[in-house]
Symmetry: C2
Subunit: 102 residues, 2 copies
């Protein structure tokens, strides 16, 4: 198995716009996408997603190595990418994601 | 203000060795440091710290821009680096760290 490619971090927040303001002010975040249910920020060279807790758990995401690694029933993001969530022994969520077109 | 430089992610785990095994098996993590209270893993090109919840909250860490940014009473890691924790509007912890010798 090769080394994993990191994709993004996702944090749970209650109000997307409030959090965007905080991350812009405190960490000079650049907004790549935002609506009322989630946002994708670029902070330095790392992508940080802000999501409502009703939508996704906080997680760290890595690129899946192949479609078959996602098993028989992957979930599909709104952008068409396929993903699964795995839980580490403490319930921390790790996402494996296969980006659309890859 | 310039773009922030990302440093690491930290996850809370109850047993460092159990978690190391999981991250090695599932994400091909490389162990950079480990003892019974914390570990630093390299997963792909991202550093992921495993810490006991009694030691540190889960957090994402960025490089501080200057010593003065840490305020008058920074904390000191065992490796000599200075740091502070900030809370975003939802209580997610952001660490600003000034690495020793920088």
């Amino acid at each position: 198995m090769t080394a994993r490619e990191f994709d993004h971090i996702a944090l749970s927040v209650e109000n997307i716009q409030t959090s965007i303001s905080w991350y812009k002010e405190n960490l000079n975040a650049e907004v790549q996408y935002a609506d009322d249910t989630w946002a994708m920020l670029l902070i330095g060279d790392v992508r940080v997603a802000l999501t409502l807790p009703t939508q996704h758990p906080p997680h760290i995401a890595f690129i899946a190595e192949s479609f078959s690694e996602l098993g028989e029933d992957p979930r599909v993001h709104r952008d068409g990418s396929n993903y699964i969530y795995k839980s580490d022994p403490d319930g921390n969520t790790v996402e494996l994601i296969l980006l659309e077109g890859k």
